[in-house]
Amino acid sequence: MGNDVLVVAEHLKGEFTDVTFELLGKGRELADATGGSLTAAVLGSSVDASALGAADKVVGVDHASLAEFNPETHLAALVEVVGHVDPRVTLVANTSMGMDLAAGLSVRRNAPLVAYALDVKVEDGSVVATSQLYGGKIYAESVLDGDSGIVSVLAGSFPADAGRKDGAPAVENVPAPASLDGARVKFTGLVEPEGGDVDITQHDVLVCAGRGIQSDENLPVIEELAGALGGAVCASRPIVDNKWLPKTRQVGKSGLTVKPKVYVALGVSGAPEHLEGMKDAELIIAVNTDETAPIFEVAHYGTTEDLFDLVPALTAKLK
């Protein structure tokens, strides 16, 4: 028990994801502050753990069924690792993979879970996590009961550099649970995105269309502004789900991460999943009629003007 911290290392296509290092950096800080040790949980098949030097040790399960992420086998294996390490707190990324693990772990270990965390600390022996809720409009600080909890952390909450340290930590493998051989979920392959017409990660200026544009009939107005700025049009998820623009234009958690010099967000509320993909843009200008929209927290300049009034006026001034 004690004050040990466990970080679930996430890997895709043979590499640990950035968020893994974000969690390791935070995990290191928590372990050092409380006199605990930091363990990385590696679930895979012959994974090279030498990039996980920030951890004191690696506890893993090595099994063919874990080679690619699988919600069923990875959860079963993680339950074993957590049982073995018995950490004070387990940090899981609130990513697509992590979402399939955290809640299941909570039920199987009968341990509290706080999700959507932006921050986590240990205060007087209690784990305290700050979650971003209601589309980013509300924050909640939760104190976890008991002496073993789970926090699922939003990607981008901590610097990844703090957790990047080479050096091969000692690896201890725990036996694979028998259930891995009879998994009901089978991984059948990765599907790569089709190449798009425009690579939005290569543009200095992006104009983002959010659901506030109301209809695809209004896209030309947005395109004109992008044209006047010499930039490209990107979009929030609902625009892509509606098939108004191709998936390659989507910015955010399940889309692309962009760092343009200028990002103009039009009718975008600024949900955490969108911010994840654009908050490091050099200059962000947001247009949104709702003054409490979370996009204004990351924007440098904002206005509550109606985008349909503002955009044509702005395009005219730039021409």
């Binding site: 809640a103 909570s106 706080v114 979650s131």
Partner: protein, 252 residues
């Protein structure tokens, strides 16, 4: 293919959210609720699977101010059964809500449970994965493509950058739907009104599920402004002028 869709109602984010005096929860007196956007996608996916492969769709929702409307709307869209769960606290956690849903799902005949991948208020985790864990069923979340392949269900799970993982899963299973293959359908008000006259909602009173979120909110707050954007005021013309100046300065 028999499908159950447990629906979450969430506060309408377009309206202003107030926090209670204790700063531990939203002020629930003035909240208006609506169907969680991703649950609407789960319902759409369930209805299109039913149209293609037959079977039934049952929807379940926990009682709130607007639950009847949401359930009748689901019936109007083509769901076969609608169950309202009573006796669950307004501020129930995801763990508690999932347990209550399981009490109803446990008594149903089904192949798939489709839930919305997440909701704006699930502070203690996503309900779908919790339901799967309580029912000891396999689950895949962040699913955007569901296809029936013989006895198996083939799904795509979304990762970052447009990359997706393909899985096959044998029913029974729980899927957390991110996006239906088509935009959620719309039920005309007249059709909803007609259904309200014809159909009845089933009601089930939840028993105490014996679970909690396992954590306590000690402080709820709205994120500090100030560090955020510098707001530009004036008419649309004036604001456009200011933005143009900022952009030109950057370019120059």
């Amino acid at each position: 293919m028999n499908i159950v869709v447990p629906i979450k109602l969430v506060p309408d984010l377009v309206e202003e959210l107030e926090i209670n005096d204790e700063e531990t929860d939203l002020d629930r007196d003035f909240l208006s609720f609506r169907i969680n956007e991703f649950c609407d996608h789960a319902l759409e996916e369930a209805l299109s699977l039913k149209e293609a492969h037959g079977g039934t769709v049952a929807v379940i929702a926990i009682e709130r101010e607007e639950t009847d409307k949401v359930l009748y709307t689901a019936l109007a869209k083509g769901a076969d059964r609608a169950v309202k769960v009573t006796g669950v606290d307004e501020a129930a956690s995801s763990h508690e809500a999932a347990k209550a849903m399981c009490q109803v799902i446990g008594g149903m005949e089904y192949d798939l449970v489709l839930t919305g991948v997440q909701a704006a208020d699930d502070r203690d985790g996503q309900m779908g994965v919790l339901i799967a864990s309580y029912l000891d069923l396999p689950h895949v979340s962040v699913v955007s493509d569901v296809e029936v392949k013989g006895d198996l269900i083939a799904v795509h799970k979304e990762y970052a950058g447009g990359v997706m993982a393909a899985f096959e899963v044998a029913p029974k299973a729980v899927l957390g739907i991110q996006a239906a293959r088509q935009t959620p359908r719309y039920a005309p008000v007249s059709r909803v009104r007609q259904i309200m006259k014809e159909a009845e909602l089933e009601e089930v009173e939840a028993e105490d599920g014996g679970v909690t979120s396992g954590s306590t909110v000690r402080r709820m707050y709205t994120p500090e402004k100030g560090e955020g954007a510098e707001m530009l005021d004036g008419s649309a013309e004036e604001v456009a002028e200011k933005i143009a100046a900022i952009l030109n300065e950057r370019k120059g």
